[in-house]
């Protein structure tokens, strides 16, 4: 199986804070990888570097062998990376369908002259995009109204739309930042199925998630971060029992002992220094 | 139905396109009043063409060419037979052809940019001296006063820039007087210290302000405050009692002005001023006399033509003889502007503009 994303020795810091501190990992075709780690470990920052929203202080990022380090987000997206955001970034006043169409911007098949003169090309590309938009909404199992502004949807529905928008880009790499946040158990089960369906499209799926149930069940490989460093990388089975991970992140399953967490917090406290 | 063939009965409608809104609204008002005064006088005498009364149709141009065109068209549609308006040259220019296409004569009381005669339209008559004429007067006076150096300040409107440019041209051609400063200010502001400062450093014998009294007053005051002791002269747009009030009578004392003779400076015009002031409880402003004259001239031309038909009235205007304006006997040159602008020089004495020099 071929490597899609290859991140090598990534650094980024803000003022004193080393958000990402020498992170290296790679993601392959038809693979679901989860990135987990305490709050503030640097997961989202890593995503932001890969997608060009942050310019890494140092390190290299390769997409299918092509160096995309430091390109502007649009170019990286064009190169074949698509993502969702930790706190939704939809186009609130546009309809659900238009939001998904955004994902199809790059294969437009029309220029402004087609638009002005309503050429056959234009008509075709428009109906094609609409059909695609509906297809992807079905694909993510979106059940709400599609012709109304997304701001009128509930949180969970908006998450679905955001994923549909990302998928509509049809890229080899999909980055999902906490797609499960704000979903209840049954909805997370659907999400889990969805992740697998996405993988079966032949893409690499990298997701940040805090719900261990979901992570352990869905991921083929788990990367654990702390203080911006990778502290573990392995199969769910391995990670579950990895003492560092339990210490820094998981805590003992069930009965939470107040002493433990404050210890955990104490650790992530260092990450600030 | 907007037929513009003049009615043979009923009131004779006179168009006046002047600024009633925007920063030039004050002048529009004084012109409107001047015209109204003439209309009332003539009507009181029983009108013209055997008892037909005159009626003003004043339209706002806001000194904006676009609006002026609308206003002019409105006037045409209202069946006005003659126009006595025109203040901002740039707003008057595009209206020329509109009136002309309907053969409506225009007697332009205020706008005086050289561009107007240059448009060479048969219907346009300027009864206000042009910028060229005024600057000639200014230069003549500067020489008389034995000035060696001057500063020319305008407010970037065509009326005022016209005068400075012409004056500058003449002075350079002549060579005996140096133009140390030739600059513009933005109308409608209050602090002119920067231009004042420029002048102070250059320290010319005379400053010639070629725009209106609002800013003129401020500039005079700020010049004196800054300690400028040279002479100050203003153009006719600034000849207004308010100039002295704004500048402060002390600072305004001794300021010269190039201007057509104002009623105040004309023997026998005292009661005119009185009537005007009584009628509108405000003193006449710049161009109220010209507007008054414009209406009277219009009436005269129509009477001579014995009809309101445009073509005939225009001819009547071309051939008119011996008609007395405030500025003296009317004589058009080939450009249909005044043969002599009739400019004189006034000076502020005891808080009043009085005649200084008739430049004969």
């Amino acid at each position: 199986m071929t490597t899609i994303l290859d991140v090598q020795d990534l650094y980024i810091s803000f003022g004193g804070i080393k958000a990402v501190d020498g992170l290296s990992f790679s993601a392959n075709e038809n693979e679901i990888i989860s990135v987990i780690g305490p709050n503030g470990a640097g997961k989202t920052s890593a995503f932001n570097c890969v997608t060009g929203f942050y310019k890494p202080t140092s390190g290299k990022i390769f997409l299918q062998g092509k160096d995309i380090t430091g390109l502007r987000p649009a170019s990286i997206a064009a190169a074949g990376v698509t993502r969702t955001f930790q706190n939704l970034r939809l186009f609130p006043d546009l309809t659900v369908l238009d939001n998904v169409r955004a994902g199809m911007h790059l294969y437009g098949g029309q220029n402004f002259l087609d638009a002005i003169f309503h050429t056959p090309r234009f008509k075709h590309s428009e109906s094609f995009m609409t059909a695609e938009a509906h297809r992807w909404l079905d694909f993510v199992g979106f059940a709400g109204a599609r012709g109304i502004p997304v701001r009128n949807l509930a949180y969970g529905q908006q998450r679905q739309v955001e994923i549909a928008r990302a998928l509509a880009r049809k890229t080899k790499l999909v980055l999902l930042d906490e797609p499960g946040a704000g979903l209840n158990h049954s909805e997370k089960q659907e999400l889990l199925q969805l992740c697998r369906k996405i993988r079966d499209l032949g893409t690499a799926v990298v997701l940040i998630e805090h719900d261990m149930g979901l992570v352990m069940e869905v991921s083929e490989r788990i990367i654990v971060m702390n203080f911006g460093k990778e502290i573990a990388d392995g199969t769910p089975a391995e990670i579950k029992v990895n003492p560092d991970v339990i210490e820094a992140y998981l805590g003992k399953e069930d009965d939470p002992d107040p002493a433990e967490p404050s210890a955990g917090v104490h650790d992530s406290k260092e990450s600030g220094l | 139905g907007g037929s513009s063939t003049p009615a043979a009965t009923g009131p004779i409608k006179i168009a006046m396109v002047v600024p009633l809104s925007g920063s030039s609204a004050p002048s529009g008002l004084t012109m409107k009043n001047g015209a109204q005064m003439a209309v009332d006088e003539i009507n009181a005498k029983g009108g013209i063409l055997g008892g037909r009364k005159l009626e003003m149709d004043v339209q706002d141009s806001a000194c904006d060419p676009g609006q002026a065109v609308s206003a002019a068209n409105k006037a045409v549609s209202n069946g006005d037979v003659i126009s006595v308006g025109g203040y901002c040259s740039s707003a008057t220019l595009p209206t020329l052809s509109i009136f002309n296409s309907k053969n409506i004569p225009m007697i332009i009381p205020a706008a005086d940019s050289q561009d107007l005669p240059n448009a060479k339209l048969p219907n346009a008559f300027l009864i206000n001296g042009t910028g060229v004429q005024q600057s000639a007067a200014a230069v003549a006076f500067m020489k008389k006063e034995g000035m060696k150096s001057v500063a020319l300040v305008d407010d970037n409107t065509s009326y005022s820039k016209d005068i400075t440019t012409e004056t500058n041209k003449e002075l350079n051609a002549d060579g005996s007087i140096k133009v140390l400063v030739n600059t513009s200010v933005t109308a409608g502001e209050q602090d002119y210290s920067s231009v004042v400062n420029t002048i102070k450093t250059a320290n010319p014998d005379m400053v010639y302000w070629t725009a209106y009294y609002q800013e003129g007053g401020l500039i005079i005051n700020q010049l004196r405050t800054a300690g400028y002791t040279g002479k100050i002269m203003v153009a006719d747009g600034s000849v207004d009692a308010s100039l002295i009030k704004i500048a402060g009578s002390a600072d305004a004392e001794g300021v010269f002005a190039t201007s057509p003779p104002t009623p105040a400076t004309l023997p026998g015009a005292k009661d005119w001023v009185a009537n005007y002031t009584k009628k509108f409880n405000a003193a006449p402003g710049p161009y109220s006399t010209q507007s008054y004259d414009a209406v009277r001239l219009a009436a005269q031309a129509i009477t001579n033509a014995k009809t309101t038909d445009g073509v005939k009235v225009i001819n009547a205007l071309k051939t008119i003889k011996g008609f007395k304006l405030f500025t003296g006997v009317l004589q058009f040159n080939s450009e249909q502007t005044l043969k002599s602008g009739g400019f004189v020089v006034l000076v502020v004495k005891n808080g009043k503009f009085v005649l200084k020099d008739s430049l004969q």
């Binding site: 006043d93 199992g141 | 513009s4 809104s21 904006d64 676009g66 740039s90």
Partner: protein, 365 residues
Amino acid sequence: MAKSKSKSERVNDNAELSDNVDASMAPRLIGKPQSRLSALFESKRLGWAALAIALILPFIIATPYTLNVMTNAAIFVLLAAGLNIVVGYCGLLDLGYVAFMAVGAYTAGIIAKSFELPLFFTIPAVLIMTVLAGLIIGTPTLRLRSDYLAIVTLGFGEMIRLTANNLAITGGTGGIYGIPGLQVFGIELQDPVRFYYVCVAIVSVFVLAAARLGKSRLGRAWRFVREDEDAAEAMGIHTYKVKLMAYIFGAFWGGMGGVLFAAHLSAVSPHSFVFLQSALVLMAVVLGGMGNMRGVVLGAIAITLLPEMLRNFSDYRYLVFGILLVVVMVFRPQGLWPSRAYEPERGFEGTKRSRARAAAKGQTS
């Protein structure tokens, strides 16, 4: 019904106060038009109906004045349509829009006058100049957020006016006059009625074009940028390019407006391009309903007609005008005819079945 609707929104807005301030400049309405009335409003025919009215009007009221006002309205519609591309679609607040109009008017005027060309032949030059102007104004503002944009555009507007005021080729304060009128192949089009028809023809073409652009891929890209630049970038939309496109189109529309304006007055002078003009065009857009071309057309007509209708108030004209503006906006906060984010559902309702179908599709795709 429309009225009661906008009320209920206000309630909701007060409720969701947050949506207000971080709301983009875009109007937003919830739900879909239902009444037959609004269905009619959305229908395509309406545009043709409006055009038809515009075409027969001269036969009903053809005084020079009404013709002149209608011509102004037409030109103003063109300007508003152009500004709507920049402000309504792309959400770039432009307070100096007349700059483009000025560029168009002066380019046309100068060339036509100095080469004795009919104005139509100057259009290529106008195209070039306005595109340049668009780039010049656009480029330094790409990184700016809306209100910094506002002042920069305002600045450019003033700079262009003042420059025209101070330069010799632009005729200085007097401007340029005696510009040769419109005429094609010797047919003189300067006569008011003909000129009006020419304007209506040109304007409607440009309005249609702008409206279609708004509904195209580029138009959507503009909206995406308006709504959320980061998200747009993440979708591979090069926001700078897209913004520049908005400026360029806006500039050209404005330039064309300038050409017609110059032809209409046969004179161009700096006084026509003061800040107030920009403000008026912006009003037309907002009053009509940002982003909705039909609304914008309506707004432009309203903004031209109002001051004319108020002429008889002479001195109180702008007092009344100002009050009316406030009243209208208070009662129609989204504009007279807001743009609706609404599309037909195409029968894809989120039913169990459609989910099943979706799943099926998922496998097959």
